[in-house]
Subunit: 305 residues, 2 copies
């Protein structure tokens, strides 16, 4: 019996199995080449982790362009295995093929786990504090520095090198499990397309709530800031896997922050309300958010400014 | 705990869950356009069904070429829903996106079910009779008549029309469940790439056995025969989803045939041995099979004869 079907803004489906539940999510990675195996495992694992539980198993499908070599298959398989081990996931099976007509590899992972209890992104409560882990636009910062290459003169080599390493932070599994363990968390959601703003918007839709999000409170890494200001991108709308949104019962923020201390930084960035969806901009103005923002990464990669 | 990891020739992975098992398989459909949603659900469901059990759930990923319309998404979603209902599978979630650079749609389904007991294609026993359901090359016959179009003069319109309808037979779920229910079946496998010969070969490898397969015993539909003879294809090596290989305890063939009577035809085509892998050709000669045959469909679609 499906108890939580996947729908817009929810990260996973939940199925009743015996006394517990199976949490499952499937995602494809289609836009990147570098470390695509790692992305695929981490991104689907993140979806399952937002339930508050560590994912356990993954089934993968790898599609390669014609002309791919045995060594390409091996590299990808190693990326997948390494990423899975890093977060404690067992690869149970998969399918690898060369697909005529493909320009870039595509990797899909269906990740799942068996759990006793869970929350979803649709469980946020009116008055909850919105916290986020790490910094905004982590995934986009890594993708731009790895795929696009950063144009000369925009950032120093040291910045570019550090930006590329942001890929190492795109798992939210550890922080999701630690946050849920406090018992003070109503809902969680990962920041994927549309960045922090997109994720807060999705969570508010899934939970039937409004929000007040403070732009000035959203932590942005110096590397992300440099890239975004030079490329005129909004870091709040930059694809952000690696950053977890946590809807925390009001007054319990310190408990969550303490539980996460060993894992990563967590910052209060706003709260859910029963009113409108409002972004309080750094310049003091307010902006009503009435639709999911378009992600900045596609604009950056397609060269539109 | 993974008790049966997916490997070459096995159709699914099995994971211990509580007192039972979860059976799971993921497959992409990349080569066809027409009814791709149905293919995707049926082909992965077939893998799970070879365990002897009806699949219960599916998670889908749909990738569409740029320029796809909302109506394309709807058509695909309807195909997936209809196919799932037909075999009693609940779609629990999915992901749909437009993927830049794609020439044809790609649909992946991860299908799974929770079961009490199961068999795999690696469980065939020395001396077992090999039976197959329906006729050889069903999927290939449907694909050639739908994708390639049958060149004029090769077959009448009536034959082409009937050949296209073979797509309606590519599920083996009902027959797999009925056959397993007899308690006389050691192992099952579906005939995908490499056709009946490829499937018997894979099953023999997975079970560590040899076989004697009688070419003249393999049932081939008139429509498949016409296409294969005109296109000089070997129906035994033509991709054959829709036909199930069943490894039956010697002497119990009638029991299985009777159990399947309401579902489809089942035919004895050979047996497993502890010796070599031998195809007994219709002309009386014998051929040792030492590797998986290349599927005839790719040859047909690429125009190589």
């Amino acid at each position: 019996m499906v108890v939580t079907p996947a729908k817009a803004g929810l990260d996973f489906a939940a199925i009743k199995v015996g006394e517990g539940y199976m949490i499952v999510s499937a995602d494809p990675i289609t836009g990147v080449v570098d470390e695509i195996g790692k992305y695929a495992v981490f991104v689907s694992a993140n979806d399952v982790a937002t339930s508050g539980n560590r994912p356990q198993f993954a089934e993968t499908v790898v599609l390669l362009p014609q002309g791919s070599l045995a060594v390409d298959v091996e590299i990808l398989a190693k990326q997948i295995d390494k990423a899975a081990k890093e977060i404690g996931v067992t690869i149970v099976g998969g399918h690898t093929e060369v697909t005529p007509g493909l320009r870039k590899p595509i990797v899909m992972a269906t990740v799942f786990g068996f759990v006793k209890k869970y929350i979803s992104s649709g469980d946020a409560q009116d008055g909850d504090t919105i916290m986020m882990t790490k910094t905004a636009g982590l995934e986009g910062t890594a993708a731009i520095s790895r795929e696009l290459g950063i144009p000369k003169g925009i950032a120093s080599q040291a910045v570019t090198r550090r930006a590329r390493r942001f890929l190492g932070s795109i798992s939210v599994v550890d922080e999701a499990v630690a946050a849920f363990g406090t018992g003070q968390v109503s809902a969680m959601h990962d920041c994927t397309e549309g960045g922090v703003l997109g994720a807060v918007y999705e969570m508010s839709i899934a939970s039937g709530l409004g929000f007040e999000l403070k732009e000035s409170a959203v932590p942005v890494a110096p590397e992300t800031n440099i890239l975004c200001s030079k490329l005129t991108l909004d870091p709040l709308k930059l694809i952000g896997s690696g950053s977890l949104l946590i809807s925390v019962r009001s007054g319990k923020e310190e408990i969550v922050r303490n539980a996460l201390k060993q894992v990563c930084k967590a910052t209060v960035i706003g709260h859910f309300t029963s009113r409108e969806r409002v972004l309080m901009k750094a310049d003091g103005s307010e902006s009503r958010i009435s639709s999911a923002p378009e992600d900045e990464l596609w604009r950056a990669l397609s060269g539109r400014r």
